[in-house]
């Protein structure tokens, strides 16, 4: 079952040399994307060193389960690369590469260009970057790739701060959240600025397909990943992926918080296609935000006026 394993030319049992991978699952060339299933047999992202209860890893795993094995993955410097590529433990079982922090989208561009040059058909070029890697340092490359119409899938797993470096504020950190660079002090109560609206920024490029998602709605997310895969051109999915370490929540609350964000109206599930925005999930009645805030230490310091301001941000 296990054998002594030398990396020089040897391929481990999880990646058998010469074994044909791919097949019908994820093969969009032959089946319509809506009929393509979820790859139950093969784990694409496993054995990583992410914290227990990590939301970002759920976003990565589900997308790759939906895309199948004919993929080329790029992750920038950040949580997913730090936990997934610790030599010799390689948690991605598919082709994968770490890019520079700012270079997710541009590396995807290059991979797609090379795939075109090699005549590779029915392959997906997909990137997973955090909110800092997307909304801050990587936004220039992302904008360029979308504007050029490169056929890439860009997935931003949003945990609302720079978590890999130890919870620093990003432009996607919401109002009021305490981070190590926007701490809740006696004078300033956490982040005083609002969350950057990446979905609208991406939509303003008139991208063929963009969506928001939440890890608490896996079926909605998988459907959106498949739509992205079927898009002839760039696609963007921004998925809310709570971080228990950075949000100060219990490990088992990761999915619950991603659900509460949607149920309170703080995070909307929507799509942009053909120039139009469509809500894909509308809660029947919006829950009050208090429970959502209470479960997270990063909001514990908020005063009544701050809570009111968070409420006002719900559109």
């Amino acid at each position: 079952m296990s054998k002594n394993f030398n990396l020089n030319g040897d391929f481990p049992p999880n990646n058998p040399a010469g074994e044909k991978v791919g097949g019908t699952v994820g093969d969009f060339g032959k089946k319509s994307p809506t009929k393509v299933g979820y790859n139950k047999d093969k784990e694409p992202f496993v054995g990583h060193k992410a914290c227990a209860g990590c939301g970002g890893t759920i976003a990565v795993r589900l997308a790759l389960k939906a895309l199948g094995e004919r993929v080329f993955v790029t992750v920038p410097a950040g949580c997913m690369s730090a936990v997934g590529f610790l030599y010799p433990q390689m948690a991605f079982t598919v082709n994968s590469i770490i890019s520079t922090f700012a270079g997710t989208a541009s590396m995807l561009t290059g991979i797609r260009a090379a795939a075109n040059a090699k005549g590779l058909k029915d392959v997906f070029v997909v990137g997973f970057a955090g909110d800092g890697g997307t909304a801050d340092i990587g936004i220039q490359a992302l904008s360029g790739a979308i504007e050029r119409g490169d056929k890439i899938i860009y997935i931003c797993y949003d945990n609302e701060a720079y978590m890999n470096t130890g919870i620093q504020r990003s432009s996607a950190t919401p109002f009021g959240a305490s981070t190590t660079t926007s701490p809740a002090g006696s004078v300033i109560g956490g982040n005083r600025l609002g969350k950057k609206d990446m979905f609208s920024i991406v939509a303003a490029h008139n991208i063929p397909y963009a969506a928001t998602a939440s890890i608490a709605y896996p079926h909605d997310y998988i459907k959106k990943v498949k739509k992205a895969a079927a898009t002839d051109g760039p696609s963007y999915i921004h998925i809310l992926a709570p971080c228990p370490t950075g949000w100060g929540s219990e490990n088992n609350q990761t999915v619950n918080l991603a659900r509460l964000a949607v149920e309170t109206g703080l995070w909307q599930l929507k799509e942009f296609a053909g120039g139009e925005v469509k809500i894909t999930h509308k809660p029947k009645e919006l829950k009050s935000i208090e429970e959502y805030l209470r479960l997270q230490k990063r909001f514990r310091h908020l005063n009544a006026a701050d809570v009111d301001r968070v409420k006002e941000s719900i559109g």
Partner: protein, 366 residues
């Protein structure tokens, strides 16, 4: 079969890139490199070059895209200069550490501030430790030849390192010369199709760009050093030596240069030698790999050598001079090494100034 064409240095490089047929080219404009990628764009627009031609949004993205393409096992090219080279500095280290055989032309240009678009070598010399092979051309013909060589060096399996081909801004990039442009058939002999040493593929998925901790990191760096050593051997064997010695045989004094100024230095040496002055030229064609052995054997019996570089190390001896001093260290009666900065921000270096430098070398003083 070669044909003669009247071309600028940049156009010559574009012609060579066309012959090399990279699968992916990433382009971003910056003076004085821009006419390389403009010419390539013309080739693509007119169907003379079939390639994936990407207009990227920055130099950082240019190299980032090429690393992605290179990871897929295809030949890649880009060109840059000055601020652009510095903007991609992170990617320079990344590409070398990742062993991506990218070829990049750098039009040597001054670095801001103050702003200056003219030629000097401060840009590439500030990136000596990025792990790239750094070659320096003397004239447009050499720039053409070295472009093809650069691909062959980078793509050699023992080397597997990116190559930066440095060409003096304006002096070479924009000056027209009659050039020998070899045929596609001959180019294919110098540069066979790229056979990647690793590539992401669907049969054997790979993980690239991984983290290697304190235990493992050094081993990968040692492999990188071995790649650079292999490059030195390969260049000396096949691509015209790391150094170019001119009239050094009977000389006691030498001037060491790199890039286009060497042409004028040759003329001055011709003149001085005919007057009986024992001075010769040693031109560095490669700074990485650094020609340490070559320098030690060529300069062993010299009294004084002077290093003229279009560079300035503020607060220390100039970069190239310092390296030459280090290379000669420990030789019995090692020559004295004098450092000279010249041509900063495109400032002209006259024949008289070179004579001045040579007389300082002979006088053994700064």
């Amino acid at each position: 079969m070669a044909i003669q064409k009247f071309l600028s240095g940049n156009e010559a490089i574009a012609e060579a890139v066309k012959l090399a047929k990279p699968a992916v080219i990433a382009v971003y404009p910056i003076t004085p490199q821009t006419t390389v990628v403009e010419k390539l764009a013309d080739f693509v627009a007119n169907g003379e070059l079939k390639t994936e031609f990407i207009n990227v949004e920055s130099e950082h993205s240019a190299l980032s895209a090429l690393m992605g393409a290179s990871a897929m096992g295809v030949r890649t090219f880009t060109a840059t200069s000055s601020q652009g080279l510095l903007y991609m500095s992170e990617c320079l280290h990344y590409a070398a550490g990742g062993r991506f055989p990218i070829v990049m032309m750098n039009a040597n240009r001054a670095v801001a501030l103050p702003w200056n678009i003219f030629g000097d070598q401060r840009d590439s010399l500030s990136q000596l430790e990025s792990g790239w092979i750094q070659l320096y051309a003397e004239n447009a013909q050499e720039a053409f030849d070295l472009t093809l060589s650069s691909f062959a060096i980078a793509e050699n399996h023992a080397v597997a390192l990116p190559v930066m081909l440095n060409v003096d801004g304006f002096a070479l990039t924009h000056t027209y010369e009659p050039l020998n442009i070899i045929s596609q058939e001959d180019a294919d002999k110098i540069l066979p199709p790229f056979k990647p040493f690793f590539e992401m593929n669907l049969e054997k998925p790979l993980s690239l760009g991984f983290s290697a901790g304190p235990r493992d990191n050094t081993a990968f760096k040692q492999h990188q050093i071995n790649g650079m050593k292999a490059a030195a051997k390969l260049i000396n064997e096949k691509f015209g030596d790391l150094v170019d010695a001119y009239k050094l045989e009977n000389a006691k004094y030498a001037i060491i240069t790199l890039g286009s100024i060497s042409g004028l230095v040759r003329d001055v040496i011709d003149e001085l030698q005919s007057d009986g002055v024992k001075v010769g030229l040693l031109r560095l064609r490669s700074l990485r790999p650094f020609p340490e052995e070559e320098l030690r054997s060529a300069l062993a019996n010299f009294k004084t050598v002077g290093v003229l570089e279009k560079n300035l190390s503020v607060g220390a001896e100039n970069a190239v001079a310092k390296e030459i001093k280090s290379a000669l260290y420990g030789l019995e009666n090692a020559p004295q090494v004098l450092a000279f900065s010249g041509g900063l921000g495109g400032r002209d270096i006259s024949a008289n100034e070179i004579k001045d430098i040579i007389s300082k070398i002979i006088g053994g003083e700064k």
